[in-house]
């Protein structure tokens, strides 16, 4: 969807959208010099709306939250990939990794 439809579905002003993109909170795909929004952008924008309108977070707060959330989701993805990679190994390897992890945990 384009800028217009995106703003319409979220009931926001274009200026607000411009701010979000400028701040880096949203990064729509660019297709032939046109911004192109997908469902993921819509979901992310709704989160930003919840944070600003419902929870009362200010601009600086959104910046911090979105940055930390991106780190969180990024880490979760890496962790999940790691789990799945380890899951393909033999039981012996998995048990060994787990034992090591438990040792790390115990030493903390």
């Amino acid at each position: 969807m384009d800028d217009h439809e995106f703003c319409h579905r979220l009931k926001i002003e274009v200026t607000e959208l411009e701010l979000w993109i400028q701040e880096g909170w949203l990064a729509p795909q660019i297709h032939e010099d046109q911004r192109c929004f997908h469902d993921v952008d819509l979901a992310r924008a709704r989160l930003i709306l919840d944070l600003t309108h419902e929870i009362g977070v200010n601009e600086a707060g959104i910046d911090v939250i979105m940055d930390l959330l991106d780190q969180l989701y990024g880490l979760r993805m890496i962790t999940r990939d790691l789990i799945s990679a380890v899951g393909n190994e033999d039981t012996a390897v998995r048990v060994r990794i787990r034992t090591t992890l438990e040792k790390h945990l115990a030493s903390r």
Binding site: E54, I55, Q71, Y73, R94
Partner: protein, 307 residues
């Protein structure tokens, strides 16, 4: 959805719009699914508080709800995909990725995956700890129990009943907090609190006005004309009140310090409004006296209303 929206947001029925908004914000911070990627339960809870807030956050809808014109089902939330569903899906080229939250990974029966889910939950063993959630209850108490204070129990859906000390002078709509009686914390975090919203049943003849008690006291015509001692109930037991002669209906008499106790600072007062009650049946003697009673025809009690 059948739960009471006030209970869902943990506010009393006479909470201000500001209190409702702040309660919702507090819950939304904790329960927003995108801020809790690993916790499957948050989505349903978030929808529930959003629906409740949709209703109570708008003073007009709230008034209609209070009058019983609409209910919670009127404001069901439209289905919505949260950001976490996209952020968790591996899509190459996803622009937002920087490099944890451990809960919610796959099947916990895998040797490796179970290590992470266990880490997220095991009490004591992990560096993650979080305070338990508050639990919200509501209970009704009798008028005099609220005025004088009492000890009572709240029965819980699960677990042992909670002992609750109702303090003297508890008001309708007040919330009592029992520290540490909420949900247990995780990873050694402290337990949440139990919040009990109190509603006070009305009394047969007492009403509450801050720390004062008001009541209407029926008196006979004879008592009104001649005055004398009348026995008046108060929350702390009956009191003999000296009624001055010639007391009209509507006259208000005060009995000091017999109202709602204020801890160590005395108590409110009791205000007695007189109400003259004529004999149950028409009385011939009274009627014939009234016909003879000359000044009864000259009194003008409505003179202020004329002209």
């Amino acid at each position: 959805m059948s739960r009471d929206p006030y209970d869902i947001l943990g506010v009393t029925r006479n909470a201000t719009q500001k209190e409702i908004r702040s309660a919702f914000r507090k819950l939304a911070k904790k329960l927003h699914p995108d801020l809790n990627p690993g916790d499957k339960n948050t989505e349903a809870k978030f929808k529930e508080i959003s629906t409740a807030y949709e209703l109570l956050g708008d003073s007009e809808k709230r008034a209609r709800f209070d009058r019983g014109e609409i209910d919670m089902t009127g404001g069901e939330q439209a289905p919505r995909n949260f950001y976490r569903e996209y952020a968790s899906a591996s899509s190459p080229g996803e622009p937002f990725r920087s490099g944890g939250g451990f809960a919610g990974f796959g099947d916990a029966d895998d040797i490796f995956a179970s290590f992470f889910s266990r880490r997220a939950r095991a009490p004591g063993a992990s560096p993650f700890h979080a305070p338990g959630r508050d639990r919200h209850f509501s209970m009704q108490i009798d008028f005099l129990d609220a005025v004088k204070g009492t000890k009572t129990k709240v029965e819980l859906p699960e677990g042992p009943a909670l002992d609750v000390q109702i303090p003297t002078g508890t008001r309708h709509g007040q919330t009592l907090r029992l520290r540490g009686k909420g949900e247990p914390g995780s990873g050694g975090g402290p337990a949440g609190d139990a919040l009990i919203s109190i509603s006070v049943r009305p009394h047969r003849y007492f009403t509450r006005d801050g720390d004062d008690i008001r009541l209407e006291l029926p008196i006979t015509l004879r008592e009104a004309v001649l005055g004398g001692k009348v026995r008046v109930p108060t929350p702390s037991g009956p009191v003999d009140l000296a009624l001055p002669p010639n007391s009209s209906s509507g006259k208000v008499l005060r009995i000091r310090s017999r109202g709602v106790p204020r801890g160590n600072a005395g108590a409110g007062d009791v205000y007695v409004t007189l109400k003259i009650v004529l004999p149950d049946r028409p009385d011939d003697e009274l009627a014939s006296f009234m016909k003879r009673w000359a000044s009864g025809t000259t009194q003008r009690p409505r003179k202020d209303m004329e002209g």
